[in-house]
């Protein structure tokens, strides 16, 4: 208190607002109002040239002191006045029930000593938060999905439930998403999402809905990171979240998105920096990287546990591989013929074996119906017949899924934005190589289990004695799907789309625009993935058809090798390129990348290219 008096005596000189301060409590209020903890709860935009703070929340009742510009001190004073008045008449309409997070924060920060159990009178808040049943909060990473452009980088939701995981489907999920009108077209959706054309807010619903969408319909794996919050932190987190429900702000797909919004709350709770307000891009996986990094620093535990939730497709594959050869034969015969009862096909099997086949078939048709409803209503009838057949057997699961190998935890994969620098040798000319990419999950990156790739807006430069050559990659998407680890009737394709432009000829690419489209298949052999792909290539004004053979291999989790051979028949002749890309990852932040290739065109002397880069993965 002594320090507060000293502060008060000199503060009038520097802070005009304090000219109106009447007491020590106002001095303390001013101090608190200038704290990051308070300002972050108000969601204020930056102050251009020292101007007033602009509110980011676009709701008439979120701020007490105005709607156009916000002074944190005035907002605190008016909040204090509203929230702590008439507490003997507390009900759901009272400001304390509307803003329980501010009640808790100011009560502690201003040392007001009100009984926090008063919030027990806020029945709507209590019914929503379910403090009597739930004691755990998790951030859930849903893997990327190319079926929806907005989901390419993955998605993040919150799950509030029980720490023992019981009845997880009935937990509450909290989702931050854009308010998109029904029937919005994808192009308009993308443009509005990028340009701030939608409002977004937190909404709550049962967690099973997330499970249905992501694991059952879209076949996406999920990672749950349970946050290591004590009771005070958890209650504050939920109280603050309650204030934000249906309080919209402008949605930006790249920045004010699901991960950014959750990270902003966690900043308040953990009192650590998790987001840079000036960042242009905050993909969901970045929050997991930040949490993992803080946790591994050791002075603050932020992760209590992690668990992997496989998609319905992964579960079905694991069910299928547990079937015996004879059972798989029956399985194949049933799905290969139209409309026939399953029972005659089961005649040679023991009761348990027969029940296992039926269970796997039910799962298979459920997978088809939920993921591919366009396949037709006949599937419903076949599934119904199988259900009727299964009901003739005793209750209880016969077929147990084989253990499913989890994907790499998202927080332990390579960070997605990258700066790289190194040396190059192109056609015997040495040079300096530089690279920058805002988002890249490359095939050789740490924790990229299936060698797939998504790179957006990459810029690579090469400075040689007499020239600066540049290559711009608009987008490169590569999907590699194992042909052996597949479901019956499924022929998973491997494919690549690579669109870009470059200033000088390198290897098979001429100067100008370039496009590669490859389609083929891959086979996993041990830890190796072998791919054979047909290719259409456009390089400058020249077109070509060709083929690519590729071998990808990860050794010791940290080193990835991709060897390849490209043959292309161009309009001007044939070319062959052989190459080896490799990366050693020291950590999610640092890696060393080496590329070596030989290019031979029409019998001319082969061009040898090599590059060694140190990469800093910074986001």
């Amino acid at each position: 208190m002594q320090s507060a008096r000293i502060f008060a005596s000199i503060s009038f000189l520097f802070f005009p607002a304090l000219l109106f301060a009447q007491s020590d409590s106002d001095v303390l209020a001013y101090q608190v109002s200038q704290s990051d903890q308070w300002k972050k709860q108000l969601y204020l935009s930056d102050r251009p040239k020292g101007g007033p703070y602009r509110p980011r929340i676009q709701s008439d009742d979120f701020y007490f002191s105005g709607t156009d510009s916000i002074d944190p001190f005035q907002e605190l004073l008016q909040t204090r006045q509203a929230v702590f008045s008439n507490l003997d008449q507390l009900n759901n309409d009272h400001p304390a029930c509307r803003f329980p997070g501010r009640f808790l924060f100011l009560n502690a920060a201003l040392a007001l000593d009100y009984d926090t159990s008063l919030l027990g009178e806020c029945s709507n808040f209590q019914n929503w938060a379910r403090f009597d049943r739930y004691d755990s909060l998790s951030v859930v990473m849903v893997e990327g999905y190319y079926g929806n452009p907005a989901s390419s980088f993955g998605h993040l939701v919150l799950r509030h439930g029980r720490s023992d995981g019981a009845q997880q489907l009935l937990d509450t999920s909290i989702n931050f998403g854009a308010r998109v009108p029904q029937g919005e077209g994808p192009i308009k959706y993308i443009l509005n999402g990028l340009a701030g054309g939608y409002l977004a807010s937190f909404t709550a619903e049962s967690y099973y809905r997330q499970d249905l969408v992501y694991t059952q319909v879209e076949h996406r794996d999920m990672w749950h990171y349970e946050l290591d919050l004590d009771d005070t932190q958890r209650v504050f987190f939920l109280a603050h979240l309650w204030e934000l429900l249906d309080s919209p702000s402008t949605y930006y797909f790249l920045k004010n998105n699901c991960a950014f919004a959750v990270a902003e709350i966690l900043e308040i709770v953990f009192e650590r920096n998790l987001v840079n307000q000036n960042t242009l891009f905050y993909p969901p996986v970045t929050l997991f990287h930040e949490l993992e990094e803080i946790h591994q620093q050791g002075d603050l535990s932020v992760i209590r546990s992690k668990h992997f939730v496989p998609s319905q497709q992964s579960v079905l594959k694991s069910l299928y591989v547990t079937l015996s050869a004879q059972q798989r034969q029956v399985f194949g015969r049933y799905i290969g013929r139209e409309q026939q009862p399953v029972q005659p096909l089961l005649a040679d099997l023991e009761e348990a074996e027969a029940a296992e086949v039926i269970e796997s078939l039910i799962s298979f048709y459920s997978y088809l119906i939920s993921g591919y409803p366009e396949l037709g209503t006949e599937l419903y009838e076949r599934r119904r017949q199988l259900i009727v057949a299964r009901l003739e057997y005793p209750s209880g699961r016969f077929l147990q899924a084989a253990e499913i190998e989890p994907t790499t935890e998202p927080g332990k994969t390579a960070r997605v934005s990258r700066l790289s620098m190194g040396v190059s040798l192109v056609d015997n000319q040495p040079g300096l190589a530089l690279g920058w990419v805002p988002y890249s999950q490359s095939a050789t990156d740490l924790g990229n289990d299936d060698f797939s790739e998504l790179t957006v807006l990459a810029l690579d430069g090469r400075l040689q004695e007499d020239a600066l050559d540049a290559k711009f990659t608009l987008i490169r998407v590569a999907q590699r799907s194992d042909l052996i680890d597949r479901l019956p009737g499924d022929w998973p394709l491997s494919w690549t789309i690579d669109l870009g432009w470059q200033t000088a000829q390198t290897g098979r690419y001429r100067a100008g625009g370039q496009a590669d489209i490859e389609v083929g298949q891959s086979v996993q052999v041990g830890s190796m993935l072998l791919s054979a792909l047909g290719a259409f290539r456009q390089s400058g004004w020249e077109s070509g058809l060709g083929a690519r053979a590729e071998l990808a291999l990860t050794t010791g989790q940290r080193i990835t090798w991709i060897g390849y051979a490209d043959y292309t028949f161009w309009t001007s002749g044939e070319s062959v390129q052989l190459g080896l890309d490799s990366r050693f990852s020291f950590s999610p932040r640092w890696s060393l990348e080496a590329e070596l290739s030989s290019f031979d065109r029409g019998g001319a002397e082969a061009e040898l290219n090599a590059q060694l880069l140190l990469a800093w993965h910074f986001r």
Partner: protein, 160 residues
């Protein structure tokens, strides 16, 4: 569709179908909670998929409609679960166990008698799914029947 319900009524035990009031309850909950099929009344399954697939936006619309005031309590949550996850429940009832089924039994208030509740539901479900009219029934009607069976089972064995 009427045939489907009549067939069910014929095979059902006293507890099976429940009262007309219970059926109205399901429809009322369904509408008040703004579930997807409200927008696509002819195909609830497609409606649910359509609603939830647009993962960054439409879920918000759903939960706005599903205000805590109108959708509080186990019966409402169960109605929502049964409609949304009917294919999962169907599959797990056939097998006799599973996460979705366990969630439904939990909402039925059947702690300590889960096995009995599942057995009772499974018998009733076997009767309905084997009926010739089951295939023609739409998702809403199937869900309504299962919801009513769950409610009556709960009334007999559990405490919803």
């Amino acid at each position: 569709m009427k045939l489907f319900k009549m067939a069910l009524a014929a095979v059902a035990m006293v507890s099976m179908i429940g009262s007309a009031a219970a059926q109205r309850d399901f429809a009322a909950i369904y509408k008040e909670c703004g579930l997807g099929a409200l927008l696509f009344p002819n195909d609830p399954i497609i409606a649910v998929v359509t609603n939830v697939t647009w993962d960054l936006g439409t879920t918000a619309v759903i939960s706005e409609l599903s205000s805590p005031e109108t959708c509080n309590g186990n019966p409402a949550l169960m109605a929502s679960l049964v409609l949304d996850a009917y294919p999962q429940l169907e599959q797990e009832l056939a097998i006799g166990e599973g996460e979705y089924l366990a969630s439904m039994v939990n909402l039925m208030g059947c702690e300590g008698v889960e096995g009995q509740a599942v057995s009772a539901l499974r018998v009733q479900f076997a009767d309905s799914v084997a009926g010739g009219t089951y295939y023609d029934a739409d998702g809403f009607e199937k869900a309504e029947v299962l919801y009513n069976a769950a409610m009556s089972t709960s009334n007999q064995l559990c405490t919803i």
